[in-house]
């Protein structure tokens, strides 16, 4: 039961990253792929109608973790206090820049909100990447299951670590590059003309860079957490994840090489999803690793709600998810195909 809930929570986080990751990526590349106001409206139209639908997966993930792993939320969120508020403020600015940017058809107004959009999305990609690095590396968890940490200490991933060290920074850089590549793949699928052509070039270059960084991260991870690999090879989900990574990579490369945009985009989604799934399987059952003493680490079993709470959640969660999947089909069908600046705007100008 608890392992299944761990899988569900991981799945919801993965859906969030895959969905909102395209917005982060498109946001980071906004200035590079789109240079005139008209081109930039294309990028905004590709994201605008859907950002809240994507962001809500983060809320649903958070709510689900709260319901099934309340002590994890309590321990991790309080420990990451300042970093989380930085993420929250960036999320606020990202949403607002999308919503208000289109309200006034004015160069300065839109230029300013484009700037906020680029800045917030870039910071979000880096911060979420650093957060992923923290999950893998661990936090200075004391015996009571609580921790608090600085933004950075001596940049070494041992003992009293900070939010940023050389390992989490490199994960953050990888995340930014991979999400930018994901965003470029999405824009290639959704846009036309020069924006499309530039996105296609960026997609190829960025995915090549991401592949290289992926190798570096794998080696680093093995060095920082040597215990994980020995543990993971006994987990069948980890092997399945690795298999999916290979399939996704082939689909992505084939799609990019043969200019089949949908195939490349599916490969891109699947690649991010399977990378995250593999990582989630590798660290299970530890949800919060202690860099101070292994016995302080919290497992999914330590932080789970009562069996009865989990049983109740197992009744309503599938219903809620089935409904969400229905909306997903609706949304995907309504916004299938290339965007149209005339049609996919809020009608303000």
């Amino acid at each position: 039961m608890i392992a299944a809930w761990y899988g569900i929570a991981a799945f919801m986080l993965i859906v969030y990253v895959v969905l909102d990751g395209r917005n982060f990526g498109a946001g980071m590349l906004h200035w590079l792929v789109a240079r005139t106001p008209q081109e930039r409206r294309q990028v905004i139209a590709a994201i605008g109608p859907l950002w809240s639908w994507h962001e809500v997966w983060l809320v649903a993930f958070g709510g689900t973790v709260f319901a099934v792993f309340p002590k994890l939320l309590a321990s991790a969120f309080a420990g990451y206090y300042l970093a989380l508020f930085l993420i929250l403020w960036c999320l606020i600015l990202r949403g607002i820049s999308l919503e208000v940017g289109g309200h006034i058809n004015d160069r300065m107004w839109q230029g300013f909100w484009d700037f906020v959009f680029v800045l917030a999305n870039s910071l979000l990609a880096i911060l979420f990447g650093a957060a992923a690095g923290n999950m893998a590396r661990g936090v200075p968890l004391a015996s009571g299951g609580t921790f608090s940490m600085a933004f950075f200490t001596d940049f070494a991933p041992r003992g009293y670590v900070g939010l940023l060290d050389w390992y989490t920074l490199s994960v953050a850089i990888f995340a930014a590059v991979a999400l930018a590549a994901h965003g470029a793949t999405y824009l290639m699928l959704k846009t036309r003309g020069i924006v499309h052509d530039r996105s296609a070039v960026y997609a190829r270059g960025l995915w090549a860079a991401a592949a290289l960084l992926m190798l570096v991260i794998s080696v680093e991870s093995a060095a920082v957490r040597p215990d994980v690999l020995g543990h993971a090879i006994h987990n069948v989900c980890w092997w399945l994840g690795l298999l999916l990574v290979c399939v996704a990579a082939i689909a992505l490369v084939a799609g990019l090489a043969t200019r089949r945009e949908m195939l490349a985009f599916i490969g891109s989604n699947l690649l991010l999803a399977s990378l995250l799934a593999t990582s989630a399987a590798a660290i299970f059952p530890v949800v919060l690793h202690s860099t101070l003493a292994p016995e302080n680490s919290l497992t999914a079993y330590d932080v789970a709600a009562s069996p009865q709470s989990l049983a109740y959640a197992a009744i309503w969660w599938p219903i809620g998810f089935a409904l969400a999947a229905t909306y997903f089909v609706f949304v995907s069908r309504r916004y299938a195909g290339k965007v149209s600046v005339q049609r996919d705007n809020q009608g303000f100008y």
Partner: protein, 451 residues
């Protein structure tokens, strides 16, 4: 660390109060959009579609600010209230997750279609999108109120071996009688806000002589809905809410009324200031027996005063609680009188020509926001010193690892960011109002221009 607890409370109070300025309009306005889309679909009258299209823009801005200010609320359970999350997360996590799964998914999947998608969707699907968003927003309200009702009147839980709470019966938890009463009261209050805002804009356009057909539509729909909602918010929902407080939190009722000494023929104070140090109400003007009647149905009923309860079980800010409650009641009464008069003038066909009334209607729209806020202050201050009534003290709830300095820092950050958001929101809504409702929808351009 009383100090740290104070800052955590202040941050939550500030962020939730600010956040709730937006959903209360969303929840009220959503049904106007549904109504107008429905009328437009049935009658083919383009005025209704114009109204829906115009209000959808204001709705969209409002919704966006609601979404971005709402996400910090969920995070703060973990960041600021780790003690509470550890203790009660096994119960309240259920409804917070359900809100995401059942309400937010529904709302957010269709809000894009509602705001951005009229041309893509066509009238029938666009109406359904409005309906989905309205249902989602009310469902979301219900899950939040179940969560709050658990904190006011915990039911359906069990204390586990480790001391934390777990769900014992999900249906008991979800069907908490407190939640039903509070939901009815709160949703009617949201409708009051929505209808006052619609009426105010109608009054403004009327006074200005702008968009006369639209102005008439807003004024009539707004004042009629406002009258119904204002009555329902007081009776039966407000009345039932007060009885619920009297039944389950008698000390809270005594504090709300500034009733330091108990007895029969309990009076309601129209005017008076609680003097907690001297334990009396200064210069009161009272209606004898009214409180006994309202709380228990008989003028002779005994209503306990604060003296019947130990000092440490009293709400910790009796003055603020008392003023919040009384001002809310006063405003609610004025709303009924104002809208009843507007309804009377409407029947006589003089609603649009009574200029002083239009001025009052135009300037009245902030007051439902104030009344809603005061109502929530009454609920939350009245619950103190408990975070979960009778089970868990507020002073045990905050995150012990977060220093008060960090909390003050993030609080100031929120104040600054929300100030900017507020200015931006008002500027853009003001701009939409000055543009006014547009003309009929232009035909869809078939081809993209060359890029």
């Amino acid at each position: 660390m009383e100090d740290a607890s104070f800052w955590h409370r202040l941050q939550f109070a500030f962020t939730i109060t600010y956040h709730y300025l937006f959903p209360q309009l969303t929840m009220g306005l959503a049904w106007f959009l549904v109504y107008w889309k429905w009328r437009g679909l049935r009658t083919g009258d383009e005025e209704y579609n114009r109204a829906a299209r115009f209000w959808a823009k204001i709705f969209g801005l409002n919704f966006a600010v609601g979404v971005v200010t709402g996400i910090p609320m969920e995070f703060q359970f973990g960041t600021n209230w780790a003690g509470f999350s550890k203790y009660g997360g096994g119960v309240i996590g259920q409804t917070l997750a359900m809100e995401g799964m059942f309400a937010f998914f529904l709302e957010s999947a269709f809000i894009g279609a509602l705001i951005w998608g009229e041309k893509r969707l066509g009238p029938r699907y666009h109406f359904l999108a409005a309906l989905a968003v309205a249902l989602g927003s009310w469902l979301s309200g219900y899950f939040i109120l179940v969560t709050n009702a658990f904190m006011q009147h915990p039911v359906g839980y069990r204390v586990q071996a480790d001391g934390a709470l777990g769900i014992d019966s999900l249906s008991t938890y979800l069907l908490n009688p407190w939640a039903w009463v509070q939901f009815a009261h709160n949703q009617m209050a949201a409708l009051v806000t929505g209808s006052f805002v619609v009426a105010a804009l109608g009054a403004f356009y009327c006074l200005r002589g702008l968009h006369p057909a639209q102005a008439r539509l807003y004024l009539r729909a707004g004042t009629v809905a406002a009258l119904m909602a204002s009555i329902l918010v007081a009776f039966p929902t407000g009345d039932q809410q007060a009885k619920m407080v009297g039944r389950h939190q008698p000390v809270t009722l005594a504090a709300m009324e500034g009733r330091f000494v108990g007895g029969s023929m309990a009076s309601v104070a129209l005017i008076g200031q609680p003097n907690v140090a001297k334990r009396r109400l200064d210069n009161p003007i009272e209606i004898p027996g009214a409180l006994s009647f309202l709380a228990y149905g008989h003028f002779g009923s005994n209503v306990e005063g604060l003296d019947a309860f130990p000092r440490d079980s009293w709400p910790d800010n009796i003055e603020l609680l008392y003023y919040s409650f009384h001002l809310m009641i006063t405003l609610g009464t004025i709303f009924i009188v104002l809208m009843a008069y507007a309804g009377f003038q409407n029947l006589r066909g003089r609603l649009e020509s009574t200029r002083w009334l239009l001025w009052v209607l135009m300037l009245a729209f902030p007051f439902p926001y104030i009344a809603n806020t005061l109502g929530w202050m009454t609920a939350e201050l009245g619950r103190q010193p408990w975070l979960i009534y009778g089970l868990f003290h507020t002073s045990d709830g905050h995150s012990k690892v977060v220093s008060s300095g960090d909390t003050v820092f993030t609080l100031i950050g929120f104040v600054g960011l929300y100030l900017v958001l507020g200015v931006l929101f008002l500027f853009l809504v003001g701009r939409e109002i000055s543009h006014g409702p547009g003309d009929v929808l232009s035909a869809e351009p078939e081809e993209e221009p060359d890029l």
